[in-house]
C-alpha cells in the first residue's frame, strides 16, 4: 500500500516537473533571442544507415554557413538530429522527441514508409516539415498544410524513368518493387506510364520480399516474360542482389534502379562486372550538378569525406527553412508555412524553387546515371 502511495506521489511530481518544463520551453519559443532549433530525423542505423551522415553533414554545412553570416534575424540556427532507422516506430518516437524539444522546422525524412506516420505529428504541432529525400506521392496525398517536399516525387521519377526507357530503345520492360510505400509508388506509376500507347510496353510488374538473399524464384518468374529492360525501384541491398542474380540467370538486357538504390554498395554487392552499364533514375547529386564543384570542395574540407546522396537536398532544406523563417519574421509554424508557399525563385540545387499547390517541386529534376568503371556517373540530364 505504501508503495502505491509513494508511486502516486512520484507520478504527480513527475507530471508537475514535466508541466513546468513545458512551460519554460514554451516561453522559450516566443523568446526571440535564443537559437532556433531545426530538427532532423534520418537513418543512422538499420538498412539505410549509410545515408544519414550524408544528410546530417549537408544540413550542418548550411547551418554553419548561415550562422557565419549572422544567423536568421540575428538568431543562430541549431541542428538536432535523431535516428529514425527507417523504421516507423523508431521514427515516430524520434519525431516526438524533436517536438518536445520545440524545434521550429523539421528538415529530415529519408524513407517514405517510415516518414509517413511522423507527418501528422509535426503537422498537428504546427511544425513545418521540409522533407529533403523521402519522395513517395503518399506523403503529400494527405494535403497537410505544413508538409513540403524538395525532392522530386514518385510520379516525377516514374515519368523520368519511362521517358528514358523510350529514349534508350527498350521494348518490353519489367518493373520490380519491394512493397514499401516509396518503391511501390514509383513502380505502379511507371507501370501506368508503360501501359500508355506508344513507347515501351510493360512485360511484368512484380514484388519481392525485402531482407532475403535468394531472389532466383522472382527472377525466373520475371524472365519468363522475356523483358529487355528491368527497372528496380527499391533499395540498394536487394537491388544489388537482384542485379547479380539476374546476370547469373543469363539476363543480358538493360537494368535500371530508382534513387533509393543509388549507393556505392549496390555496385559492391552486385559485383563490378554485373553492375557495369546499369542505369539509375536519380535526383541531382553533388557530382552531377554543374557548378557544384566549389560546394563539393567545401564539404570535403569540412567533413573529410565525399558528399553522398541527399547531402545537397538536406543543405537546401535548411536554407529553405531559414528563408521561410526570415520571410515569416519569426518561428510561428503557420506563418512559416505561408511564407514557404510564397517562395518564388529561391535558388536551390535543382533550380529556382517554387512549390506547387501540392507542396511539391514544380520541376522534379531527375537525371539518368549510369555505372561506369564501378561508379555512378551522369548519363543524361533529361532536359
Amino acid at each position: 500500500m505504501k508503495k502505491i502511495a509513494l508511486g502516486a506521489v512520484l507520478g504527480a511530481a513527475t507530471l508537475a516537473v514535466s508541466a513546468c518544463g513545458q512551460g519554460v520551453l514554451g516561453s522559450d519559443k516566443t523568446d526571440d533571442s535564443g537559437p532556433i532549433a531545426l530538427g532532423m530525423v534520418v537513418p543512422l542505423s538499420g538498412s539505410s544507415a549509410d545515408i544519414g551522415p550524408y544528410m546530417k553533414n549537408g544540413a550542418q554545412m548550411a547551418i554553419d554557413e548561415i550562422n557565419a553570416k549572422g544567423g536568421v534575424d540575428g538568431r543562430k540556427l541549431q541542428l538536432r538530429v535523431e535516428d529514425g532507422a527507417c523504421d516507423p516506430k523508431t521514427e515516430v518516437a524520434a519525431a516526438n522527441k524533436l517536438i518536445a524539444a520545440k524545434i521550429a522546422v523539421s528538415v529530415g525524412g529519408y524513407c517514405s514508409g517510415s516518414a509517413l506516420p511522423t507527418l501528422p505529428l509535426f503537422d498537428r504541432n504546427k511544425i513545418p516539415m521540409i522533407i529533403p529525400a523521402a519522395n513517395s506521392t503518399e506523403l503529400v496525398e494527405q494535403k497537410l498544410k505544413h508538409v513540403f517536399l524538395i525532392n522530386g516525387t514518385g510520379d516525377q521519377q516514374a515519368a523520368a524513368a519511362v521517358s528514358w526507357m523510350g529514349k534508350d530503345g527498350a521494348k518490353k520492360v519489367a518493373v520490380l518493387h519491394d512493397n514499401t510505400s516509396y518503391s511501390k509508388d514509383i513502380a505502379t506509376r511507371t507501370a501506368t506510364g508503360l501501359d500508355q500507347p506508344g513507347g515501351p510496353d510493360k512485360a511484368a510488374l512484380d514484388a519481392v520480399t525485402p531482407g532475403e538473399s535468394d531472389y532466383s524464384a522472382n527472377i525466373a518468374s520475371v524472365l519468363k516474360t522475356k523483358p529487355d529492360f528491368v527497372y528496380w525501384t527499391g533499395y540498394y541491398q536487394e537491388g544489388g542482389l537482384i542485379l547479380r542474380q539476374l546476370r547469373q540467370a543469363g539476363y543480358t538486357g538493360k537494368f535500371m534502379v530508382g534513387d533509393g538504390s543509388v549507393d556505392a554498395k549496390l555496385i559492391k554487392i552486385a559485383g563490378d562486372k554485373a553492375a557495369e552499364g546499369a542505369y539509375a533514375t536519380m535526383t541531382q547529386t553533388p557530382d552531377t550538378i554543374e557548378g557544384a564543384g566549389g560546394w563539393v570542395a567545401n564539404y570535403k574540407k569540412k567533413f573529410g569525406a565525399e558528399p553522398g546522396p541527399y547531402s545537397t537536398q538536406s543543405y537546401d532544406a535548411v536554407r529553405v527553412a531559414a528563408e521561410g523563417i526570415t520571410k515569416a519574421g519569426g518561428t510561428d509554424g503557420d506563418k512559416v508555412a505561408k511564407a514557404l508557399e510564397a517562395i518564388d525563385g529561391f535558388p536551390i540545387f535543382s533550380g529556382p524553387l517554387k512549390f506547387t499547390p501540392q507542396h511539391t517541386l514544380s520541376n522534379g529534376g531527375f537525371v539518368i546515371l549510369v555505372v561506369k568503371n564501378g561508379a555512378f556517373t551522369l548519363r543524361d540530364a533529361l532536359k
Binding site: 531482407g211 538473399s213 524464384a217 525466373a220 541491398q237 554487392i269
Partner: protein, 297 residues
C-alpha cells in the same frame, strides 16, 4: 520447368542446413531455439572476419579458402551454440516450456544486436565471391559453385544422418528424445549429450551462413531472421524433431517457393509458402514424416 526445380532445390538445401539445428534441438529437449537463425548470421560474420584476416591469401584460390573458413566457422558457431545452451538454456531446464521460449527470443536479440555493436549496422560484402560460368543441365542453368555448395550441404547432411543413426552418441541423443529421465538413470550424461546436440546444430547453421555469404555476397546483422522463420517452416512441414523429415521439408519448401512465385507472382510467394505451413498444421500437424505425438509422450 527444370530451372524452377533446380532453383527450389538449391534454396531448399540452405533451408535444410539451418532447419536441421532447429529440429535436433526440438527433438531432444522440445525447445524452439529462436536464436538458431542468428547462429546462421553469426556464421556469416565469423567467416567474413576470417576471410578478412586471411587477406591476400584468399584471392588466389577462393574456393579452397572458403572451404577452410567453412570448417573453422563451423567450430566457432558450434562453440557459440554451446555457450548459449550453457548460459541461457541449461539453468532453465525443467522450468515451464514458456520460460525457455522467451529466453530463446532474448538470446536471439542478444546475438543480433551484439553483432550490430561489434560489426556495425551496415551490410557487408564478402571479399570472396563464388561466381562461375553456367552450364546447361536439362534446360536449367547450373553453375559449378552451386554444385559444390549443394555437394557440401548434402555431405554434411549425410554425415549427420550417419552420426545420429549409427553411432553410440547418436543413439544416446535418440534415447534422450524419448525419455531424458530414464537416460539419466541408465548412466547417460544427459547434459553433455544436449550440449553436443547444440554444437552440431549450430555448426550446421554456421556452415550455411558462410556458404550464403560466399554465394550471395551480402551479409547484415538481421539476415538470420527470415531464414530462421523459413527453416522453422521447413522443419514443421517435414515433421519437427525428425531429421530426414526436416531435410525433405526444406526441399519441399524451396520447391513451393519456386513454383509459387512462378504460378501466382512474387508478391504472393510468402503467402503461398506460409499458407502451406498453416495447411500442414491443420491437416497433418506432425508434418510429412513426423511420428504421431502420442507415441512420444
Amino acid at each position: 520447368m527444370s530451372q524452377l526445380i533446380w532453383n527450389g532445390l538449391f534454396v531448399g538445401s540452405f533451408y535444410a542446413l539451418v532447419a536441421l539445428g532447429y529440429t535436433m534441438v526440438y527433438g531432444i529437449i522440445k525447445l524452439l531455439n529462436f536464436a538458431h537463425g542468428d547462429l546462421y548470421m553469426l556464421g556469416a560474420f565469423t567467416g567474413f572476419a576470417m576471410l578478412g584476416a586471411m587477406g591476400g591469401l584468399v584471392r588466389s584460390s577462393s574456393l579452397v579458402a572458403l572451404l577452410v573458413v567453412l570448417v573453422l566457422t563451423m567450430v566457432t558457431t558450434g562453440l557459440g551454440g554451446l555457450v548459449i545452451e550453457r548460459v541461457a538454456y541449461r539453468p532453465l531446464r525443467g522450468m515451464p516450456r514458456l520460460s525457455l521460449l522467451i529466453t530463446a527470443v532474448g538470446a536471439s536479440f542478444a546475438l543480433e544486436y551484439g553483432t550490430r555493436i561489434a560489426a556495425g549496422p551496415n551490410p557487408r560484402v564478402y571479399p570472396v565471391r563464388l561466381d562461375g560460368a553456367a552450364v546447361d543441365v536439362l534446360g536449367a542453368r547450373v553453375t559449378m559453385q552451386q554444385l559444390v555448395l549443394m555437394a557440401v550441404s548434402a555431405a554434411l547432411m549425410v554425415a549427420l544422418a550417419v552420426f545420429i543413426g549409427r553411432t553410440q552418441q547418436g543413439r544416446a541423443m535418440r534415447a534422450i528424445a524419448l525419455d531424458p529421465k530414464a537416460c539419466l538413470l541408465m548412466g547417460i550424461n544427459v547434459d553433455a549429450i544436449i550440449a553436443r546436440t547444440f554444437f552440431i546444430g549450430s555448426a550446421m547453421a554456421g556452415a550455411a551462413g558462410v556458404m550464403a555469404g560466399g554465394y550471395y555476397g551480402k551479409i547484415d546483422f538481421l539476415m538470420g531472421f527470415i531464414i530462421g522463420l523459413k527453416a522453422f517452416t521447413a522443419a514443421v512441414i517435414g515433421g519437427i524433431g525428425n531429421v530426414p523429415g526436416t531435410m525433405l521439408g526444406a526441399l519441399v519448401l524451396g520447391l513451393l517457393e519456386s513454383f509459387g512465385t512462378h504460378w501466382v507472382g512474387g508478391e504472393w510467394r510468402d503467402v503461398f509458402a506460409f499458407g502451406f505451413l498453416i495447411l500442414f498444421l491443420t491437416v497433418r500437424p506432425t508434418g510429412l514424416l513426423g511420428e504421431r505425438v502420442t507415441e512420444r509422450v
